[in-house]
Symmetry: C2
Subunit: 339 residues, 2 copies
Amino acid sequence: MKKKVSLKDIAQEAGVSVALVSYVLTNKEEKARVGQEMAKKIRKIARKLNYQPNHIARSLKSGRSDTIGLIVADISNPFFGHVARTIEDEAKKNNYTVIVGSSDENMDKSGDLINVLLNRQVDGLIVIPTEGSEAQIRQLQERNVPFVLIDRFFPGIATSSISINNFAASHDAVSHLIHSGRKRIGMIAYKTNMHHIAERRRGYSEALTDNDLPTAGLLKLARYSHIKEDIRTAIDQLMGAKKPADALFFATNSLAIEGLRYIIELGIKVPEQLAVVSFDESEAFDLFHAPVTFIRQPILEMGKAAVRVLLEHIRDGERPAEEVCIDTELVIRRSSAAQ
Amino acid sequence: MKKKVSLKDIAQEAGVSVALVSYVLTNKEEKARVGQEMAKKIRKIARKLNYQPNHIARSLKSGRSDTIGLIVADISNPFFGHVARTIEDEAKKNNYTVIVGSSDENMDKSGDLINVLLNRQVDGLIVIPTEGSEAQIRQLQERNVPFVLIDRFFPGIATSSISINNFAASHDAVSHLIHSGRKRIGMIAYKTNMHHIAERRRGYSEALTDNDLPTAGLLKLARYSHIKEDIRTAIDQLMGAKKPADALFFATNSLAIEGLRYIIELGIKVPEQLAVVSFDESEAFDLFHAPVTFIRQPILEMGKAAVRVLLEHIRDGERPAEEVCIDTELVIRRSSAAQ
DNA sequence: CTTGCTTACTTAATCGTTTAAGCATATATT
DNA sequence: AATATATGCTTAAACGATTAAGTAAGCAAG
């Protein structure tokens, strides 16, 4: 790579000191009482040589990198991709750059990522935390690193977070299924202790018991690492029971997509035989023969909030934690039509 | 943010010079002839204080940032998300970090991104170039910035690139439609001069003429900025003609998904009335009532190749351009079944 | 004519790390 | 005994930018 033009090069060409050039190019001429002539000359040379400030040197001096680190579960998953995109855009508006990393829901990778990002001197972190990463989050707190959790948080740790009302959203979605006449409503969720998923499960269960509907054997859990097999087993059990399920609620879009693949394979009719509702959005839901009813997360709003709160923490290290909870929207379509 | 532990802090605590600490912690004790006792002591203190090297300071000294910049069209699009993911993983294996930016197929944004990334001293770039960005690419060449184009390239500029055989893939896909008995095969592509799309169009056209099939009025173009309207118009024209199309080939997955939404809306039967094939993969294709035949791009291989070639350029600035072309796979499913 | 104030610059320290070169002291070689 | 070599450390410069503090010259005021 061709060596870049530095202040020194400009200073040399102008026959002045590096400091003077710096004052001019950072628009501190007034304060530093630089002569008009000289200022003009320096700017001209800078333009001629196409000077671009070395961000790394600046960072070293200033202690800020104007970079924020983002840790998602998997950037290739459209949900996280969208989150990343809104954060990227919002960060750019504030002159920040984003470094993203995928944790694969794996706490070791997550810990590594946090270290890599902090060593690169990011000014703050936006994290979609992984199961078992409480200790990492606590460490961030102790080290006084500005950070915001998004999509998920740990109820036992008081941190800034952006989340949605998982319980209510779930409760609403399941209530909707009940109102459309479903009696045996199954749910497929991840086998995890993460609070957001637990809340979704709780919303589901409470909606059922609130309406005196059975819950026994209707909640199935799939392992993140064995989605395909576990979902097939779950659906086999739900649909093969003496009283088969007449509705199915998926806790995330990846679960839904995998589930719908199998539902297609089995030739199950939606919504006649089985109503379907999913958390999260997906293009795939539009192409299913019965467009899938889903819970829409306000990703744009979440991303904006995350950046806003993070920047507040970066600017004021003493700021107390801020928990933002944003409402979702149940988008009702044919997959959950009344029988 | 709590001030980080520096070499100075360790040096102070150990009562030695900063240099000595540096030698030890970068494992140059042999070369620098550091006493065993002292080395042990320094390491112990470093561990106790949880020393983490300041990557920025290191970069300033070394001139390398161990960071690569990646410019995609839109990280929230699963195709680019996958590309980004494989590059992220591959980069990490080589101790590189990735900064991603989305250009939105907009050459101004692309230019801005290139500048931002270069100012952040990335060691090299992986770029999915945008229409009209030839000048930017030429500049990278002139400035001798290590970079690789991926997914697309400019035939007029000799650069390193990773691409697929768009012409052949398209030709194969359309030939497949012809063999399955289709006679009026439409194509919907982007209105762009980008070479990869032009090649896809060419593969389509040649497959038709090779088989003495009509081409007139069957190739429709949609603007990136007006996908929805343009696709609807295109499909209306194709299906409303005196002799309606009996097959449709989409040049990308976003075009296909938007097209399929409208096909569903119109109640067109696939594959009976209309066969469908698309470039690229998508989860959504699995959920369509007739799983969509598609051209699978070897994204993993592409990402690996991109990182490999880029690192070669970074390591050897004189290395000549390397053009990698990888084969695709036509995955045949029900959407293109014989009539 | 000396003091003080402007103006227009330069010097030098700093951020955290790396690394060549230097300097004692101890030990080995002739 | 004089010289060479090994050992264990320190000094200092450098990367590129920022910025407080210093200086030199010109001019005005007392």
